[in-house]
C-alpha cells in the first residue's frame, strides 16, 4: 500500500490543487445528476400527464364508434398479458354531448364504465378535489376546469344534450383534477348505463377495452401482439397517437445526454491535466523513489491512487452537491418533482470514478517511463 500512502501525501501537500480538482469533479457529477434527473423526471411527468390517466393500449371495433362484444376471449387477451398493469383493464362506452348554461355551451365527452375499472385507468378516486368519487346511475364526475368555467359544485344538476336531441340530467357527485387542462375541461365520467341507453347497445357491448401497461413504452409491442390475437378488432396504442410528443421527448433526451457527455469530457480533461501537471511536479520525487528501488508499475500506481482518491472524493462531493441542487429545485415551484433514480445515481458515481481512473493513463505512462538517472543527474 506504499503507492496509496505516497499518493495521499502528494494530494495532502498540494492541498489547493487537490481541492480545486475535487471541486471540479464534484460540479461535473452534480450537473450530471441534476440535469439527468431533471430531464428524466420532466419526461416522466410529461408522459404521466399525457397517458398516466388515459388508456395506453385500446381495443375497439374495426369501425370506430361501432360496438363490439367484450367477451371472455377478448378480456383474456388483455388480462393474461404480463405487461399489463394488474387490474388496469376497463371496458368503456363513450358518447359526446353538449352542455349549455344558457349563455355559453361546450362539448363534453362522457366516458361510461364502472368506477373500479375507470379508477384502474384514470385513478379518478384519488384525484377528486371536491365531492365524492361515485358513479351511480344519475351521477356525473366533472373536471376542475369545466366546473370553474360554469361555476359548478358537487350536488348541482346539469342537463346535457346528445345527438338526436336526447337529453340527460345528471347530478355532479365529484370534481376531479387529472392534471391536464384539456381533460379537466372536456372529459366527464358517468355510469355505463348513461351512454348505453343513449346508444341503445346491449350490456355486453362496449366502445373500447382500455388498458394501462407496467412500462408505457412497451405499448407498440403489446398492440402488435394483440392485433395478431384479435384480427377482427382494432388495437391502437398511445405512441402511435402521440408521435410529436415522442419526438419532443427523444430530442430532450438526446440534448440531455449531450450535456452530460460534454460535462464528463470536461471533467475528464480537468482531471487528466491536473494529474499530468502533478506528474511533472513530482518527477523529482518519482525519480528518487525509483533510484531507491521502486518499480515502474508501483510508481505508476501512485498516480492511479491519486486519480482514484480524487475520483471518489469528487464523486462523493458531487453526489452531495447534486442532492443539494435537487433539494433546492423543490422550492422552484415547478409543476413536477424531481425523483432521482438510484440506478442513475449509481451510474453517475461509477462514471465519475471511471473517468478519473481513465484520466490517470497519461501520467501513469509518463511516470512508468521515467528514468531515475534523469532526475539524479539533473540534481
Amino acid at each position: 500500500m506504499l503507492p496509496l500512502r505516497i499518493a495521499l501525501r502528494f494530494l495532502k501537500t498540494s492541498r489547493v490543487q487537490s481541492t480545486l480538482i475535487i471541486a471540479g469533479i464534484a460540479v461535473g457529477i452534480a450537473v450530471q445528476i441534476f440535469v439527468g434527473s431533471l430531464i428524466t423526471s420532466l419526461q416522466d411527468s410529461l408522459v404521466q400527464q399525457t397517458i398516466g390517466s388515459t388508456s395506453q393500449v385500446t381495443i375497439t371495433a374495426l369501425d370506430e364508434g361501432e360496438p363490439f362484444v367484450v367477451d371472455a376471449r377478448v378480456r383474456n387477451v388483455a388480462e393474461s398479458d404480463a405487461r399489463v398493469k394488474p387490474g388496469a383493464i376497463a371496458p368503456t362506452l363513450s358518447v359526446n354531448g353538449l352542455y349549455s348554461n344558457g349563455n355559453e355551451s361546450t362539448p363534453l365527452a362522457l366516458k361510461g364504465g364502472d368506477l373500479k375499472s375507470l379508477d384502474a385507468i384514470s385513478s379518478i378516486s384519488k384525484r377528486i378535489t371536491a365531492g365524492v368519487a361515485r358513479l351511480g346511475r344519475g351521477d356525473i364526475l366533472i373536471g376542475t376546469d369545466f366546473a370553474e368555467k360554469f361555476t359548478l359544485s358537487p350536488g348541482d344538476s346539469i342537463r346535457i344534450t346528445f345527438s338526436g336531441n336526447k337529453t340527460r340530467t345528471l347530478t355532479i357527485a365529484g370534481i376531479f383534477d387529472l392534471g391536464s387542462a384539456a381533460v379537466n375541461a372536456r372529459q366527464a365520467f358517468v355510469n355505463a348505463e348513461v351512454p348505453r341507453s343513449l346508444l341503445g347497445w346491449r350490456t355486453d357491448e362496449y366502445a373500447a377495452l382500455e388498458a394501462q401497461l407496467l412500462q408505457p413504452f412497451d405499448s407498440a409491442e403489446v398492440a402488435a401482439t394483440w392485433r395478431q390475437q384479435l384480427p377482427n378488432l382494432r388495437v391502437v396504442e398511445w405512441q402511435a397517437q402521440n408521435a410529436d410528443l415522442l419526438t419532443a421527448l427523444q430530442s430532450q433526451g438526446s440534448s440531455s445526454y449531450m450535456i452530460q457527455a460534454f460535462v464528463l469530457i470536461a471533467v475528464a480533461l480537468g482531471i487528466a491535466s491536473t494529474l499530468a501537471i502533478s506528474a511533472v511536479q513530482k518527477t523529482r520525487q518519482i525519480g528518487i523513489l525509483k533510484a531507491m528501488g521502486m518499480g515502474d508499475a508501483e510508481a505508476g500506481r501512485i498516480f492511479l491512487w491519486q486519480a482514484a482518491l480524487l475520483g471518489v472524493g469528487g464523486t462523493l462531493s458531487g453526489l452531495a452537491l447534486g442532492f443539494f441542487l435537487l433539494w433546492g429545485f423543490s422550492f422552484a415551484g415547478a409543476s413536477f418533482t424531481i425523483t432521482p433514480k438510484p440506478t442513475f445515481i449509481a451510474f453517475s458515481a461509477a462514471v465519475g470514478i471511471i473517468v478519473a481512473l481513465l484520466s490517470s493513463i497519461i501520467p501513469i505512462r509518463k511516470t512508468s517511463a521515467l528514468d531515475p538517472i534523469e532526475v539524479i543527474q539533473g540534481g
Partner: protein, 237 residues
Amino acid sequence: MAELLLRAENLEKVYGSGDTATHALKGVSFELAEGEFASIVGQSGSGKSTLLNMLGLLDTPTSGMIAYRGQDVSALAKPAQARLRNSLVGFVFQFHHLLPEFSVLENVLMPALIGGKPQVEAKQLAEETLALLGLEGLEDKGANQLSGGQKQRVAIARALMNRPALLLADEPTGNLDTTNTEQVYKLFRQVSAETGTAFLIVTHDRNVAQQTDRILEVLDGELVQDVRNDYAGAPAR
C-alpha cells in the same frame, strides 16, 4: 582476505553514434571486496559519476559486465535491477534528494517500505539508523526544516536503511562546509566499521580521497590508477 563483492569487467559507455559518439567510459575493470572503503577520483567529466551510476544499476553499460557476489546483474530485467538496487545498494548524492512531502523518519523508512519490510520492523530499524547518525529527536521534522548537514546525514541514514552491501556516494559533501564534510566522512568510516558496508565514494577532491583505503582514478573514461592508501584516516588538509 575479504569476499569479493563487486566485479566490473570492461565497462564501456558510449553516448550517441557515428562521428558524434562520445565515449564516457572506455573499458573500465576493477573489483571491490566486501566492506572495502574506496574512492573514485577524477576531473569533472572524466566519467566517474557515469561509472558510479552503472555500478548502482541506475545506468546501463553499452558493453561490459557487472557482477555482484558472483552474479551477473548487467543483463537483468528492469524490475529485478530495481529490487537489487533496493536491497544491495545505497545511494548518497551531492544533492540530498530527500522527499519534501515526508518527515525525516518517513524518508529514512522509504527504502524499507519499498522493499516490503513490515512497518514495525522497519520503524525500529529506521530509529536505530537515525541514532547511528546522531539524528535522534529529528524524526518528525519535515525534510525541509533541516540544515544542509542534517539533510545529508538523513540522506545517508536513508541509504543505509536496508543495510546495503555497498554504499555509493557521488560527491556526498559537495554542498557542505568543511566541518560538515569532516563529520560526514567520520560517519562513513564509523558506519563502515559498524555495519560492514563497503563504500565507494566519487569525489574530485583528492583530500577527501586520501581518507579512503583505496583510490581509483578515472581519466577521460579510463581507469588510470588503482592504489592502496596507507595514509587513510589522517586528517584532511
